[in-house]
């Protein structure tokens, strides 16, 4: 099955982003396809380069980044939502890219299922 993923929550707020990552990981291992992960709202904080200050949690941004670079998953960050939150195009981790809302619409059209994580 072909999935698109919408991530609306940041890496620290609650488990939504972490759940989204594990969903993608599990889906890929089962042979499914992830068409695109679209980061929207506070979900754009997953593409922040700010290091994890505590060091005792897994760095979710790195996990996402590997998903993009190792598996070729399209990690699209809404440019408008990112601009509102001070995340600039030149400062995205590897594997992420800026995208317009049209790419969210396309993700919904192309996929068999669009799965939403976070509010």
């Amino acid at each position: 099955m072909k999935f698109s993923i919408l991530v609306n929550a940041g890496p620290l707020a609650h488990h939504a982003s972490s759940s989204a990552y594990h969903f993608c990981d599990a889906a890929l291992k089962k042979g499914h396809e992830i068409h695109r992960v679209f980061f929207y709202g506070d979900g754009v904080y997953n593409a922040s380069l700010l290091p994890d200050a505590t060091g005792d949690d897994r760095d979710l941004a790195s996990c996402w980044s590997h998903l993009g670079t190792d598996h070729g998953i399209d990690l699209a960050v809404c440019s408008t939502a990112a601009a509102r939150r001070g995340i600039a195009a030149g400062h995205l981790p590897a594997g992420f890219r800026m995208a317009g809302l049209g790419q969210f619409v396309e993700a919904g059209i192309v996929a068999d299922r669009l799965v939403v994580f976070g509010d």
């Binding site: 919408l6 609306n8 440019s79 408008t80 049209g102 619409v105 939403v116 509010d119």
Partner: protein, 134 residues
Amino acid sequence: MERDDMEAFEGWMPDVAKRFMIVIRMAPRETRHGPEYLELALAAAAFDQEVSVLFLDDGVDQLVGRQDSGTDSLEDHSSAYGALEEYGVENVFVDGESLAVRGLGAGDLVIPVIAVGSDRLAEIMSRQDVIVGS
């Protein structure tokens, strides 16, 4: 819509129309949930999809005007929802029960809405291809 959103897909228009429903169920205070979900609906409409918006639970407060609690622009974006009509989104639903428990009627809201009961709502939602909500 932001200009780059359109430019990203310049020349591209989908040849299929899916049914998108955007569900807004959070109050206008504290987060940008309402206006950002509104933008999802407008984007889908701009790409000729069949768009519905549903206001549910605290989300109905988004449509109550005159939220005169100061100058904080985060609070009152009720006027922004007029864009739905401009983008041709006619299927704007409000959960009737969410209105009733708040002592509101459809006439108290800033845009025309279709108030529906939970049975009808379940039927409408079952017909959607893509539902974005929390």
